[in-house]
């Protein structure tokens, strides 16, 4: 493992995480309670408390490239039991937003693909459409056969309508998504312009 160069921590990253999450990450004293209660811990590369620590040290890349930020299911066990009243789940959510914006996660990240697929159906219909979502996700994630065994019984029981329910105001909902995407693009553009200036890395 490469040593963390402490003098080169990304303070802007810390500030951004604190601003977006409205949490003070300095309050974390590394008791590990978040890790202790985390149901998804088994799937993490860094534990929850390690992520908090890496944020404190301004290790943007390590945090945003971690598998853990994608695997958190926001059950908020950590938030509920944090002795320092830090909303850890919100901090991780914010990191996930940043990772997504930074283009991390990749096309084979199932959690990311699932979220994208889900929101696509909402964007189209105004409501989510489970069957459409499944099809979209399984296709995109290149795992068409997983969960296939569930389909017959669900379809038989009428629990997976073939056609989406579409709402009248779906163009309004689509508008929300459109404006959101535009904002994101604008932000991204601003960032890439910024990136041209020399900046401290966090190696």
């Amino acid at each position: 493992m490469e040593p963390i160069q402490l003098g080169r921590g990304d303070t802007e990253f810390i500030r951004k995480v604190e601003e977006e999450s409205r949490q003070v990450v300095k309050k974390c004293y590394q008791c590990g309670n978040c890790t202790a209660g985390c149901p998804m811990s088994f799937s993490y590369d860094y534990t929850a408390n390690q992520l908090m620590r890496l944020i404190q040290l301004g290790q943007r890349e390590r945090v945003l490239k971690s598998r853990a930020v994608w695997m958190c299911v926001t059950c908020e066990t950590c938030t509920t039991r944090c002795p320092n009243e830090i909303d850890v789940a919100r901090v991780l959510d914010v990191c996930r937003h940043m990772a997504r914006k930074a283009g991390y996660g990749g096309v084979f990240n199932n959690m990311r693909v699932f979220a994208d697929s889900f929101l696509q159906t909402v964007r189209w219909n105004g409501k989510s459409h489970e069957l459409g979502l499944m099809a979209l996700f399984k296709m995109r994630a290149m795992k068409p056969f997983s969960d296939l065994s569930l389909a017959p019984s669900m379809l038989l029981k009428g629990k997976l309508p073939y056609l989406p329910h579409r709402i009248k105001g779906r163009s309004e909902v689509a508008g929300i998504f459109k404006r959101f995407s535009e904002q994101q693009l604008k932000e991204l553009h601003a960032q890439t312009t910024d990136d041209k200036k020399p900046a401290g890395g966090d190696k």
């Binding site: 937003h97 929101l119 909402v122 997976l160 309004e172 404006r179």
Partner: protein, 298 residues
């Protein structure tokens, strides 16, 4: 008893994977005098994916629903689904933070004009109706069946934000199920996460987590599990076979929505409770109702 009227947000799965929850919930609310007025042309709250992408986007989807509800003149929305509750509850909470509402309005272009609140149908039944009142509606007590209540993680946590029941040892389902005559077992994993929506992305995750619940419930001698969340129900019921395969077990534990059992106790027609939609066959458990342990064995 005076009727209580609320704006109602059914949630997307109510027309699909949790159709039995929506149906039974409407039937039970009618029986208890809770009038549900559907929010006109409501949209998806964005569920887990939206808040995973962006909090403002997530709040904007919720905000459109609140804007739609304003047409009804009702300020309190109730929803059966804890995921919809949590998302839209957080939307309201975040919009209290400085500058957040403005960012949401940029997306929706429909600023809210009233003060809104959202709570679960379960909270209304527990707090406004009370278990004592629920007991008065019971025609067939569900004696003879042992259930474990499973709350999931979304409804009560964190307590200082959700302000409902106890965020470490919730008792709402325990009390309501006891009120309709079930034998309620103390379920130690009543709030441990089942994996939620992660099952679609990777069903090993949900199998691993929900399998533990099923095994503990089985070990305790439960006849059935009772839930209030479509995601929990899906992971425990629809994915029960996956969990069995993951752990090499062969558990057959029916997983009811609490409204289905309440409906049964109230004597509501079974077709309105959509019991046939459950994946794990509930018939053997339903046969036990009203019988003592010895009778059931014989």
């Amino acid at each position: 008893m005076a009727e209580k009227t609320f704006a109602y947000y059914p949630g997307c799965s109510g027309a699909g994977t949790s159709i039995e929850y929506d149906k039974s919930n409407r039937a039970v609310c009618e029986e208890l005098g809770i009038k549900l007025v559907d929010i006109p042309d409501w949209n998806c709250c964005g569920s887990t994916p939206a808040h995973q992408v962006d909090h403002v986007l997530s709040a904007a989807l919720g905000a459109r629903n609140f804007a739609q509800a304003e047409q009804l003149g009702l300020d309190t929305i109730i929803t059966p689904c804890p995921a919809c509750l949590k998302n839209q509850h957080n939307a309201l909470e975040h919009m209290e933070e400085p500058g957040f509402a403005e960012r949401v309005n940029e997306l929706t272009r429909r600023p809210l004009t009233r003060k809104h609140s959202i709570k679960s149908v379960l909270q209304v039944i527990l707090e406004d109706i009370t278990p004592e009142e629920v007991a008065k509606h019971v025609k067939t007590p569900l004696s003879g069946i042992k259930i474990v209540p499973y709350y999931g993680c979304l409804m009560n946590r964190p307590g200082k934000s959700m302000k409902f029941d106890d965020d470490e040892n919730p008792m709402a389902l325990d009390r309501l199920m006891a009120a309709i005559g079930c034998e309620v077992l103390d379920f130690p994993l009543k709030q441990d996460c089942c994996g939620g929506a992660a099952g679609v992305a990777d069903n090993k995750v949900t199998s691993r987590l929900s399998g533990r619940h099923l095994q503990v419930a089985n070990h305790l001698g439960a006849d059935a599990m009772v839930v209030a969340c479509p995601l929990c129900q899906m992971n425990m019921d629809m994915r029960q076979a996956q969990a069995n395969a993951y752990y090499g077990t062969s558990i057959k534990l029916p997983v009811f929505y609490y409204t289905q059992l309440m409906g049964l106790a109230f004597g509501i027609d079974k077709s309105r409770l959509a019991l046939n939609k459950l994946i794990v066959d509930p018939a053997p458990v339903l046969a036990k109702i009203g019988k003592s342990a010895e009778e059931a064995q014989a």
